[in-house]
Point group: C2
Chain length 789, copies 2
């Protein structure tokens, strides 16, 4: 388990003080570097030992058949799985006649540092070979935010006390041996050896390898180039084979002498370009990188990140672990989304093979709001990606007998890859979450160009989906039947409150957008009465309410179900690994926030008292077997006044990977949960909401738990930088850009206007919770901050 | 398509007047012979051409893995598939130098007759070889009801006009090439070559082959022995290999001369016995058969069937096709169940590989009532089989988090083999159907020994299942949530009326049985308050009712759902092949009778007006994509007075295989639908019901549709033979056995007593339907009797 001792809470870095090979797998994810296009897991430079060696290119995947023992109409027959592409990270070191390996000889010290300001992964090793030769190794690695095809490594070996012969082998390696992802032999067959060699080329100081996936037919190229700095003569040569290339540098170092190898790596892939074009593209990327050099790349990286932090940083005083974690989360969310350029942002970013590299609605729901507030261009590109898969989504809707577009539950290339429809296809709400992301992007960024470019079409097509799926009963109420809400321990139920409210928002947003762009709407074939009909459905949407309990049932009839028979002591692992869906679905037990998420994202649909009662009710039956629950519970617990409980949930969301709380960080980071940690702080303790109606655009109501003495967060809002600072006494809000004039906001419910030179200060308005702090099921209280997980 | 021209409506036989190779597959099922232990498809004697060659032993199966692209807790990982065992039917004929084949030379005539009284399949062929040699072939085949391991064939060749040299090759063949059942390569892998040779033995006039299945490890033996009758000298020899054996007879026939080969075939299989024991068992069966001889076997067969028909025959005047079909159905139901001797009765009997050879609740629901009324020992054995799989059912219940026993949705050996839980595991009602079969068996047969032997334990364990799954709401109503009723176009719904009523019957029956056997119940661990609790649950069971429509929703909320958007013209094939479950489940469309079946099996829970309204409502939304719907609709349409509509449904149920109405008779007969045809006549037009309470034991109310002028049916009731005869004027009821005294029955609602010499005659009491004849969805009206399907 990663803990404070091995990984202390430091504000701007994640530092591993010593190497524990039992933690290799999660730290490979934690130390992953990516830019949204290219991702390298934090594998050791020498390649071994590793748990999962990984290099990923955005949306580069292999297809695989999905076998069903009992098939059904509309079941997807092809899955997509992210490919571990040609590994360019490898630099092997031989010291005299001994290959360096952390498990051999004496490892005097081993430290790795992920620097959140420079964007570099640094490593320092002091090693003595079994034969007694001692060397110091320093390496730094980056995946460039400014040159998206490029990664670079600087690797330096120093002879400590004696003359040693040093051999460096810098490699490219395709079709690395992989861990077995599944027992299904066809899965293994597709992934074991996914790349077919197409062409190889030796450059002057490196090589380029071209491969193609066997089934999906995607062409890729990986290249490397090197600069050697040695104190004396050295020998360099490059070998190339179909599946590997190797540049070898040999020299002899005197005591204190240093050999420095700068390695540039570049990637490209394409569905349509020629081998030649791709080869040249990668060569150009390598040349540009070499031209800029390591120092230039590092400087560009720092500049890019300085600009990011300037509009995104969150300061948390009083809780150093949370301070570190929220920055770690922001950094990795940026790494996941910065340069996708119209490809999907997967659930794990580019940090691991978990979920087959698929993207889910988590991205639009949890990641894009953060990006819209901190890196708007990345958010826009992610929405453009959704727009590019509209053709597949329209086809899917048609297959389902529906109009409009039905986006996939999980996908890389746009096709539905979910093989269990009750928790995939039936989760129709994801379409409304996409629509909400489109709407929030516009509100937050003030960008009015994306809506006509692609937002409107998404809103229209999702609105059509809802109208074709919903229906009016004889009393005129509009229902959405047979769908699955966010909670995956319920499925295929009627009138899920989250779904219905979100569908209504989707319908209203589409109608509003059509009103803003009537000509474009007409070109999209929107009939004159369509928006009217959307509004009518939204207006009559049925929201079940349990009068006797005074709470909203998650779906029709939910609060009448039997309770889950929790034992007195919690068993290990999620319920779904020890109980069948057959039992889970018919009980009042929630894997994750569902009704509570509805209150977060559709705040106007509930009174404060309803929010308090609903939080109280669902806290008692929610088990957080999904990593995407704690953040929402944090936000809503904070809103109803349970600030200490909210703090615990915020900690749990933030530490999901730094403490490997779900035990699966090995497969990649929980990008949406990391975004959720930001949400817990900014939307939870900061009270940030966009206002759907009214003169004020956003709302703030900072209230801190006792363990946080001060919080300050920065946002980009409609082209301006907004800052909010709060302690237990007062809140200050200000702007750092003049353009756009004064900003009307609701601060603790009062409308105020904030300008560049006119920050607003208000005393904190305290909130007494309506109900006592609720209990969770036995053993399901949130992990406490001080508690060893 | 099988039609009247190729297969005329004859009262006691199914005769195919000429060979149409396009009909080979369905006629292989129609002409199948079986006795419940051993089944031979109606393949041609010479083995080819065939569509599906099949020889099946009850419960002899191979295991195969069930692959899931997304698995879940409690999903079965092993499937079971019936094995086509060593084929003993083959007798190849060579005439001079030409091998006989129906597709070569000139087929002057070819007739096959399944004789429902003798139980023999007769074939007569007049064939001229391409070289102009003409022979007549007569064969007869039986699968013995009296010697269950034995089949026999008599094969006679006659030289018509010239001397010919005749070679007969009588064979055993294991691992025959099979049609591909599935695209899953692992399915094919398991079934392609399922038998591993264990031992071979040559007998004096035949051979024995022993094999074992590769995964399930079941040992089997197949043997053959021969008697040759030739007008002149002949040569006989036998060859044996691992996977085949061949006895060859060669002779020369003068014009008019006949060569006659009598072939005895015997089978055995075992999980535990030794190779030697099994080899000897088969040899003994062959010796016994040879001792009795062909004529002896045929006489025993006739005797067995005479006895069966004596207590089972249904006479239908006015509708020759229905007359033929109901006898065909009775015959095949007997063939499916006669000698299972504590093995399952599969959905297809032993007539084909459909549904992998699995048994479903259809057997208890539709087949066992017929057997209880006509062949009670077979019904008892089928219930004993259920009792033998209680250990697996208890284990399954435990895995599902439930008490008692949860029987499998589909199985051969007792393990759950259903890979789609919403339509398998969730169909919990099947347990109540098993319990009902136990209860009805006792009521119908008067056998009080089976209940203490095994029935009580089944009732107790299923009652426990219900109590552990159901729950009381705060108002004290007892609910059964998240289950799937009989209608497979709905799933995982709450308070399915059929399920709830059947569960209540199950609970009452268990409590009653415990009261009858208090000591045994105590030995089964039934606590003193358990039966009381069962009755309390049954008493408070919630039965949803839609007051505004005046009908019962199939499940809670069903009548509020959207209508299915039927096009004006019906498309081919079942809805489930062109619409996803996601759409089917949330609409008011029924694959098969569900609420209507509840009214058939729980008649006392509905008023006559409710029955009329419910029939009217569900007729309009039921598409009969299951073959198990027409029979139930026939019964309930008859009960509410729609006699002509009921007649159409009865015809559809009865002709399911004789006209191949579902296009899949090739995979085996629809045994439960054939039983349902009997039910349509006897329970529909005869009005037969057992009375749950009151002094009368059974109820009758014969009312015939205009197309049936007279109907007479025979039943075995509590050891006596009961006959009922009705025409449009009057009904007569009588007993043919004196034992047990007079029988109190309700005839048209009046209590009468029937004795051996005191038949009762009553005028028919007509019933005016409350509502007009209902419409079905466009294109879904029942097939009309006169109409070409």
């Amino acid at each position: 388990m990663i803990d404070e001792e091995i990984c202390p809470a430091e504000p701007w870095q994640v530092r591993e003080t010593r190497l524990d090979t039992a933690l290799l797998a999660p730290t490979e994810s934690v130390f992953a570097l990516a830019n949204g296009y290219l991702g390298l897991r934090g594998n050791l430079d020498e390649g071994e030992p590793h748990e999962i060696s990984g290099t990923y290119l955005s949306s580069y995947y292999e297809e695989r058949p999905l076998p069903y023992p009992e098939g059904g109409y509309g079941y997807p027959e092809q899955g997509e799985t992210v490919v571990n592409v040609t590994d360019g990270k490898i630099i092997r070191l031989t010291v005299d006649d001994e290959q360096f390996h952390v498990g051999r000889g004496v490892l005097h010290s081993h430290q790795r540092v992920l620097d959140l300001r420079t964007g570099l992964l640094r490593r320092e090793v002091d090693w003595e070979s079994p034969a007694g030769r001692r060397v110091r190794i320093r390496s730094e690695r980056l995946v460039s935010f400014t040159q998206r095809a490029v990664a670079a490594i600087v690797y330096e070996v120093e002879a400590v006390d004696r003359q040693v012969r040093i051999t460096l082998q810098s490699g490219l390696a395709a079709n690395e041996e992989q861990v077995k992802v599944s027992d299904d032999p066809r899965v293994a067959a597709a992934l074991e050896d996914p790349l077919e060699a197409v062409e190889q080329d030796t450059e002057q100081h490196g090589a380029v390898l071209l491969h193609r996936t066997r089934r999906s037919g995607l062409l890729m190229a990986a290249g490397m180039d090197h600069i050697v700095e040695a104190p004396a003569a050295y020998q360099e040569e490059t070998d190339v084979r179909e599946d590997w290339a190797r540049t070898t540098v040999v020299t002899v170092l005197p005591p204190g002498g240093r050999l420095r190898l700068i390695k540039f790596v570049a990637y490209g892939w394409s569905t349509s370009r020629s081998t030649e074009a791709l080869r040249d593209q990668v060569a150009a990327a390598l040349n540009t990188a070499r031209y800029v050099g390591w120092d230039g790349l590092a400087a560009e990286q720092r500049g890019y990140l300085d600009d990011f932090w300037d509009g995104a940083d969150v300061e948390v005083d009083g809780d150093p672990a949370l301070q570190q974690a929220v920055r770690f989360g922001l950094f990795h969310v940026l790494q996941a989304g910065a340069r996708t350029e119209r490809q999907a942002i997967p659930a794990k970013g580019l940090t691991g093979p978990g979920y087959d590299g698929h993207a889910f609605w988590d991205t639009e729901g949890h990641v894009l709001p953060l990006l819209a507030y901190t890196a708007p261009r990345a958010a826009a590109d992610a929405l453009r990606w959704r727009h590019t898969i509209l053709p597949q989504a329209r086809q899917r809707a048609g297959m389902l007998g529906l109009s409009g577009a039905a986006f996939p539950w999980r996908t890389i290339g746009g096709s539905e890859c979910s093989a269990y429809w009750p928790a995939g296809t039936a989760a129709l709400h994801l379409n409304a979450v996409v629509a909400l992301a489109v709407d929030r992007y516009r509100r937050i960024t003030g960008d009015t160009a994306l809506e006509p470019e692609c937002g409107l079409e998404i809103l229209v097509e999702t609105a059509r989906l809802w109208v074709s799926h919903g229906h009016h009963d004889t009393a005129g109420r509009w229902h959405v039947d047979g769908v699955t809400g966010p909670d995956e321990y319920s499925a295929v139920a009627d009138d899920n409150v989250f779904t219905n409210l979100m569908a209504a928002r989707n319908l209203r947003a589409a109608a509003d957008a059509c009103a803003r762009h009537p000509e474009l709407a007409a070109r999209l074939g929107v009939a004159t009465d369509e928006p009217e009909n959307w509004r009518a459905c939204a207006k009559t949407v049925h929201i079940p309410y349990d009068e006797s309990l005074g709470v909203h049932p998650q779906s029709e009839g939910f609060t009448r179900y039997a309770a889950w028979p929790f034992p007195d002591e919690r068993a290990d692992g999620p319920l779904m690994l020890r109980a069948p869906y057959f039992q889970l679905y018919r009980r009042q037990v929630c894997k994750q926030a569902d009704l509570v998420l509805a209150m977060h994202w559709c705040p106007d649909a509930f009174t404060p008292e309803q929010k308090a009662r609903n939080v109280d009710y669902y806290e008692r039956i929610t088990v957080r077997d999904s990593s995407l629950s704690a953040c929402t519970q944090a936000v809503m617990c904070a809103e109803v006044g349970h600030l200490e409980l909210a703090h615990d949930y915020a900690w749990e969301a933030a530490m999901v990977d730094l403490r490997d709380l779900h035990g699966n960080t090995r497969d990649g980071l929980h990008i949406a949960s990391l975004a959720g940690a930001w949400s817990a702080l900014v939307e939870g303790f900061g009270g940030l909401r966009e206002c759907e109606t009214g003169p004020a655009e956003i709302e703030l109501a900072p209230r801190l738990p006792s363990g946080i003495t001060r919080m300050r967060f920065n946002l980009r809002y409609r082209g301006r930088r907004l800052w909010v600072e709060a302690d237990h006494q007062s809140t200050r809000v200000g702007l750092r850009d003049r353009d756009g004039g004064r900003l009307p906001i609701l601060l603790y419910g009062d409308q105020v206007e904030v300008g560049m030179d006119e920050p607003v200060t208000r005393p904190v308005v305290r909130l007494d919770p309506l109900l006592p702090v609720p209990q969770q099921p036995p053993g399901y209280a949130p992990r406490r901050r001080g508690e060893r997980p």
